[in-house]
Symmetry: C2
Subunit: 447 residues, 2 copies
Amino acid sequence: MKKARVGVGIIGLGVVAGQVARVLLEKGETLSQEIGCPLTVRRIKVLETDLRRPLTHDIDHKLFTTRDEEFFNDPEIDIVVEAIGGENPAFAYLKRALEGGRHVVTSNKEVIAKHGMVLRALAAEHVVGLRYEGSVGGGIPLITRFQYDLVANRINGIYAIINGTTNYILTQMAHEGIDFGTALKNAQALGYAEANPANDIEGIDAVYKLAILATLAFQTPISPEDIYREGISRLSNRDFQYAHELGFAIKLLAIAKNNNDQVEVRVHPVLIPEDLLLAKVDGVYNAIVVQGDLAGDVLFYGEGAGAKPTASAVVADVIAAARDVVRGNGITSVPVFTTLPAKNIKPMSLIETRYYLRVLVVDDAGVLAQIARVLGDHRISISSVIQKTTDNVAKTAEIVIMTHPARGDSIQTALDEFARLNVVKEVSNFIRVEEISSNQEATNSSS
Amino acid sequence: MKKARVGVGIIGLGVVAGQVARVLLEKGETLSQEIGCPLTVRRIKVLETDLRRPLTHDIDHKLFTTRDEEFFNDPEIDIVVEAIGGENPAFAYLKRALEGGRHVVTSNKEVIAKHGMVLRALAAEHVVGLRYEGSVGGGIPLITRFQYDLVANRINGIYAIINGTTNYILTQMAHEGIDFGTALKNAQALGYAEANPANDIEGIDAVYKLAILATLAFQTPISPEDIYREGISRLSNRDFQYAHELGFAIKLLAIAKNNNDQVEVRVHPVLIPEDLLLAKVDGVYNAIVVQGDLAGDVLFYGEGAGAKPTASAVVADVIAAARDVVRGNGITSVPVFTTLPAKNIKPMSLIETRYYLRVLVVDDAGVLAQIARVLGDHRISISSVIQKTTDNVAKTAEIVIMTHPARGDSIQTALDEFARLNVVKEVSNFIRVEEISSNQEATNSSS
C-alpha cells in the first residue's frame, strides 16, 4: 500500500536532534518534493528534564512527548530517528522501533559499533531499513559507500582521521608548538573537546567508528573490543619536532587492513609522510582513505561532527527511508548485509610496521653503539638516527631512531632492554610509522 | 514478478567495457551474493572492427554479437551497460535500451551532459533506472551524492579538479619547472594524454563533467554550452613562479556557484591559495569540493579515470540496477530528478573575482604609475605588485599585479587599455583567483 504522507518521530532533544527537527520543519516543502508526498515530524520524545531546559522557539512544543507508549504506538510514525547517543536506553529504543516495523535512522556510533549485527538482523527480519550514515564522519558521505559505490571492490585498507577533537589538538601541537595540556585546554575553550575528554583523547570514539567502518568494509563483524587502542596524551612537542625533521606528520589514525584471512584493526598515533594528503588534514576536519582493488585510493574529507553536518547525514537517511515508505510493498532499499567467512584479528605483537623510537641517554661515547646492538640482537634494522645533546650540564642526549619494518613484539622486547641499560635514562616514546602505500598505481589513461 | 537471475548486456569493447566484463565474470559469485541471485553477462555488442583486433583471452568469445537486433531483443538482458563513449551512436543506443524497459548504466559524460534530461525523462517514463556514476570522477563516488547523501543540503558551490590529464600537466609545470609543451609530451608518453589532446587541454572534457555535476547540484538543466571555458595552453612557467611567490597554486578548476536565482558555471585556470587541500591534489588525481549549507565543505578525492576505477563505478551501478530487478514490481530506486525553477547563467563580464595580471613593460620610471592609473580608472584596486627586470639590455621588466575583486568586463577593458600604452610591450597573461572560502565555519563541537 502506497503512503500518502510520511511521519517522522525523533527521540532526543540534544543539538543533533534539535537540528534534525529544524531541517525537517524548515525544508519540509523541498524535501517532500524529493520523496513525492508530505513529510512531517509527528512527535519528539524527550525527557522530563529536557522540558525544564530553555526550549528552542522554532520547534512546536506540541510535538513533545515524554511517554514511551505515546511515541512507539503512534501509527503515523513511519521512521524513528534516534539521537540521544550512548548505549542505553538507545539500544532498547532502536530494538523497539525495529520490532514495531519502523524504519530507523541513528547517528549513534556506540550502539551501532556494539550492537550493529543484532540491529541489522532485526531490521532484516522486519523488512525495514536501519540507517546510520551520521554515526561516522558527520556530513561526509561514507557509510553507504561500502554497500553501494564500492561494492565491486575488495577493500584492502582504511586509514582514517575520524576524531576531530584529537586532530585539532595534534594540529595545534604541530603548528603552534604548544604542549598537549595547553592544546587540550584550547580545544575545550572552543567547544571542540568535552570537560571530560577521555572518550576522544583515549581513542574510544575513534574505536567505535572504526568498528563500524571495518565491519562494512570487510563484511565481517568487528567489535570495539577487537580493536587495539592508544590515545594521544603521551605525545610531546619533541616528537612533533623530530617527526617534522624526518619528513613526517603525527596523526591519530584509525587503521584497518585486510590481509587475506587476517585483519588488522587499530587506533593509535602514527607518523605518516608529510606529503600525503592525509597529513595535511588539519583542525577538526576528518578524512578517510579507502583502498579498493578497483577504485584505488579514494579519500573523503569534511566536517566529522557538529549539529549541521550530522543533521545533513541524518536527514539524508530519513529521505532514503521515506522513499522506501512511499514505494510501499514492505520493501526496503537497504541491501542485506552479506557477511564473508569470519576473519581472525591479527595480534599487535605480530604486526610489522616501521617505528619511531625516542630514548634519553647519557651523553657519552659508545652509547649509540649499545642502543644499536640491542636492536640488532632483535633483528630490527635502523633506517635513520638523530642524536642531539639535550642538556650540557646533566650530560644527557636524545637519540631518535627510525627503524625498518619490525614486529611489535620485537620492538617491545628491545624497549624493555633499553630500559635496563645503564646509559639509558628514559625510553621517552615509541610511535608506529605508516606509509599508506596503495597496492595500486594510478592507472594510465587520459582525461 | 521477482527475477531468478539478472542478465547484463554490454555495448562496446574498449578498455572500460573490457574491464567491466572482466569484473562481472571474475567477481560474479560475490556480486551475485550481494544481489541475492545469479548475475551474468549475456551479450557484448561489438563492431566488426572490434572482432578483427586481438581479443582478450579472459572473455568468452561466444558472448560477442555485432547485430543490434540480437542484442536489443534479447529478453534475458535486464541491464544495458553502454561503454563506447562519444555522442553517437551511444545516444541512440541508450534511448533504445530505455524504451525497451532496460535499466541503463553508462560512463559516457558527453551523452549525459548533452542529453541527460531527455534520457532521465525516458527512464522515468519506462520506470527504469538511468545510472552514470562512472561519467564523472572515475571511481570516486560522486554522482549519487547529490540525490542521496547531500539531498538535505542547498549546494552553494562546487570546485573541482575533474580532468586528470590537465592536472598532470599543471603539476609537472609547477613542480618540475618544465614548459607546457614538454609537460604535454610527457603526459602523452605516459598515456595520460591522447595524441589529439584538445578535448582535455581545452577544457571540453571538464565542461561535460561540470554540466553533469551542476545539473544535479542545482536541480536545473545546465548544458555544456552554458559553461564558460578556457584551456591551459596559455599558462607559462613564469605564471607558476609568480603564483608560488604570491602563495598560490595554479589549477584548472571546474566551478559552479549558486547565487540565489543566478548560477556561475565555468572551467578555466585559476590561482588558489597554496595551503588549500585542493591545491595539493597532484598528478592525474581528481578532487571535488562540494559546499552544502548543512554538510559544510566536503571533498572527494581519487583516480578520476582509468579502466579499473571507472569499472568500479560502472559495476556499482550495475549492482544497484540488479537489486531493482530482483525486487521486481517494476520499481526503480533511482529517485525522480526534481527540478527547481530555472536559473539564469551569470555572464562572465559580470562575475567578480580577484585577478592575477602579468604585463611586460619598458623598464622605466613611471611605468607602474601608468599601469596603476588604468586600473584606478576602472575602479580596480590593487592588492599586491611584483616588478622584476627581465632583460637589462632590452630594458624590459615584468609587472605582476594581484587585484582585489573586480568584474570581468572592467578587467577586459583595463587589459585593452594596457595594450594601447606605449610603455607596454605585451599583456602576457591574466588568470582569475578563487579563494574557495566556505560560507560556513567548522561547527564547534566535540568528537
